[in-house]
């Protein structure tokens, strides 16, 4: 943003103050994530930058914490990662199916009590997690699903569907309903129309909602803490226990992997958003 040459000095000063504030805030947002990378390669057990690291001495860096993460006998990271992925994948599938169906119904102009139903469907996103945790725990305990994978998957479907509902509803808001009517007039049945016409068009919204649901499940710790037994431990639970007891470099190795995963998810979400905008003919 170059300033025009006629700008007065005081506005020029203001402009630079504004830019430096912005720089600071961007730094504040992103910098903490980058502290984790170098420290996870620390050869020592301390969570501070050693003299060797500051001098870029190759001996000060090592992969021992990554080895510990994968092969460490005391670390249940393998089990946690397996559980996390299984739970997140099933929760995502459940959220996508229930959420997409609901979004299709909600975007119909015939839908009665739209506001109230929308508010109910979105509520797990708004209600503080601790309350959701208590309520879901009471249900799962009564249903005999506490400390089971099924229980956690169901809980994460509850928490994940609002994101799918929101993203798919947003995609459907720009949806041209005449294409489905055209398909119907050409003799296609509703299921066929949905699979061949509607779904491909709203797919970017569905997938990005699914990504939100996946991340929600994969990161979720409050509700899982109420529900999980020893068998159902997940990555967030292990991180939480580790951070409470003692911050070990192995946690930083795990954190680095998680940051890489979120970078991947961010890239896919961005690509999907652009594709969706292109498909819906929104050009910015």
């Amino acid at each position: 943003m170059a300033l025009p040459s006629y700008t007065e000095t005081r506005y020029r000063i203001w402009h630079y103050i504004y830019l430096s504030i912005c720089t600071f805030v961007f730094f504040f947002l992103i910098a903490p994530l980058f502290v984790i990378f170098p420290l996870s390669f620390n050869a020592e057990e301390f969570l501070v930058f050693s003299e060797g690291m500051k001098n870029l001495d190759p001996d000060a860096f090592s992969l021992r914490w990554y080895k510990d993460m994968i092969y460490g006998t005391k670390n249940p990271w393998g089990l946690a990662a397996k559980n996390s992925f299984i739970i997140a994948i099933f929760a995502t599938i459940g959220s996508i199916i229930l959420g997409t169906l609901a979004a299709l119904g909600l975007s119909s102009r015939h839908m009665p009590y739209k506001g109230l139903i929308m508010a109910t469907l979105i509520s797990p996103m708004i209600v503080p997690l601790i309350i959701s945790g208590v309520a879901i725990f009471f249900f799962m305990a009564k249903a005999g699903l506490a400390a089971t994978h099924t229980g956690i998957v169901l809980a994460h479907i509850i928490l994940g569907t609002p994101f799918v509902v929101i993203t798919v509803t947003a995609t459907l808001s720009g949806f041209d309903h005449s294409v489905t009517r055209a398909a119907a007039s050409l003799g296609s049945n509703p299921v066929n129309t949905f699979m061949k016409i509607t779904l491909p068009l709203i797919l970017p919204g569905v997938i990005s909602g699914g990504l939100f649901a996946f991340v929600t499940s994969f990161d979720e710790v409050v509700v899982v803490l109420f529900l999980a037994g020893l068998e159902n431990t997940t990555i967030p639970i292990q991180m939480w226990t580790g951070l409470r007891e003692q911050l070990s470099p192995t946690i930083l190795a795990v954190a680095t992997c998680l940051i890489l995963l979120s970078t991947l998810i961010l890239i896919s979400a961005e690509l999907l958003r652009r594709r969706s905008e292109r498909l819906r003919g929104i050009n910015r």
Binding site: L33, L39, L98, A102, G105, L106, H110, I126, F139, V222
Partner: protein
């Protein structure tokens, strides 16, 4: 034109109006059936359990079930100034004897002691008498019990039992506000040095408020920059907002724990610029500072994204028009640009406030004792003291607050306008 002659018919001979209504109704049912699976699922697994929380929070059936005959007999106790009639004594004796046989009498004593101090002693005394078979059931029980202790002759104690009769109580809610029912049944505040919950509520509000404020002052400039920069630069900078947004909450909390520790980089930096001495590094974690810093960074994307999506729709020519009409850049900003961003400000602030008020993980890890919030207290009662009804009561108090804010949010921006990413 009479409607009979001009009525339009469909090909099957049914009036169009009827046919249309039928089709509309069919569409309505179709739409509803699509929503039904999720709605049903949420109602069963989520909405009902929240109702269950409410039932638990007011439940006081334990004592009602322990003294069924007593409460029945007490219905006939009319003159509350005087001791209850023989029948009440006898029913109480029978109920108590049954409890004693099932080893439940201790629970009753404790529960009654909460209602009025000194109950534990006199119920124990009664228990010993029953154990030794010293009570003669053929003569007046009233006289025998009254002889045991002078407190049994005090009508206050019998009134206390009567007060516990209703199966529902709001005592847990009062406890959440540091109040209780005193011996004559009126609502009293606990002593000043024991009002822990009020401190927590105020601290939760304070932290949520300041985190919202900080997020606003940090989020507004960068949202503005992102919205006004050319696309190719803003896309790159947007990553700075979106990457933290997608990154695990625990990872971000961990990085703040590393940064803010006493030997951490932030303190290193302060020592380097000479702000503090090396031997005198301030404690920045396990207190409010840590909570503020970490929560602001974690919630900032939720402020920036709604602001950005509103600012993106404001045409830059409006600012130029304001300036060309003689406004200084400040006036043009304040009178033209700022008012247009108010919907975004409302959305961002309410979103951050709602999220902050229910925060749990970050305060528990970096907050220490002075940074804990009401959510931590709820978790504590769920997991440690196992006082689930109290945890439910506090959860519902928090929920009420959040729903009020949600309602305002809905009025101001509408839930369907929430934008993600």
């Amino acid at each position: 034109m009479s409607s009979e002659t001009k009525q339009i018919l469909t090909t099957d001979g049914i009036p169009l109006e009827v046919s249309l209504k039928k089709a509309e109704k069919k569409n309505k049912i179709k739409a509803f059936l699509l929503v039904a699976p999720l709605l049903l699922f949420l109602v069963i697994t989520y909405i009902f359990p929240i109702g269950d929380m409410f039932m638990r929070s007011v439940d006081d059936k334990m004592i009602t079930n322990m003294l069924p005959k007593t409460f029945k007999a007490m219905e006939k106790w009319e003159n509350l100034e005087e001791l209850p009639p023989e029948e009440v004594y006898r029913s109480f004796y029978e109920d108590y004897k049954l409890l004693a046989e099932n080893q439940q009498h201790g629970k009753l004593g404790q529960r009654l002691n909460k209602e009025k101090n000194g109950f534990n002693t006199i119920t124990k005394k009664l228990f010993r008498q029953i154990k030794r078979n010293k009570i003669d059931e053929s003569v007046s029980i009233k006289e025998q019990i009254n002889k045991l202790h002078k407190r049994w002759r005090n009508v206050e104690y019998w009134l206390a039992i009567k007060r516990t009769a209703p199966p529902y109580t709001v005592a847990k809610y009062l406890k959440g506000m540091d109040m209780y029912f005193d011996s004559d049944g009126s609502i009293t505040q606990v002593e000043e040095d024991r009002r822990i919950h009020r401190i927590l509520w105020l601290r939760t509000l304070e932290i949520a408020f300041f985190v919202t404020l900080f997020s606003f002052f940090m989020g507004y400039p960068i949202a503005h920059l992102l919205a006004t920069l050319p696309m190719k630069y803003s896309n790159l900078l947007m990553i700075c907002v979106l990457l933290p947004f997608w990154t695990s909450l625990l990872v971000r909390t961990a990085s703040w724990m590393i940064l803010l520790q006493q030997q951490g980089l932030v303190n290193d930096f302060f020592v380097m610029i000479g702000l503090v001495g090396d031997d005198n590094r301030p404690e920045m974690m396990y207190n409010k500072v840590g909570t503020y810093v970490a929560m602001t960074q974690i919630l900032l994307p939720f402020m920036v994204l709604p602001l950005y999506s509103v600012m993106k729709t404001i045409s830059p020519s409006l600012m130029r028009a304001g300036k060309s009409l003689g406004g200084t850049p400040f006036v043009a900003f304040w009178k033209v640009y700022f008012p247009l961003t108010i919907p975004g400000i409302g959305a961002g602030c309410l979103l951050v406030f709602i999220l902050a008020i229910g925060y749990y993980i970050t305060p528990a890890l970096v907050g220490g004792a002075s940074g804990t919030l009401i959510s931590n207290q709820i978790a504590f009662h769920m997991k440690t003291t196992l006082d689930w009804s109290f945890a439910s009561a506090m959860g519902l108090m928090l929920l009420t607050g959040v729903l009020v804010i949600y309602w305002i949010y809905n009025k101001l921006v509408g839930v369907d306008n929430i934008k993600l990413g």
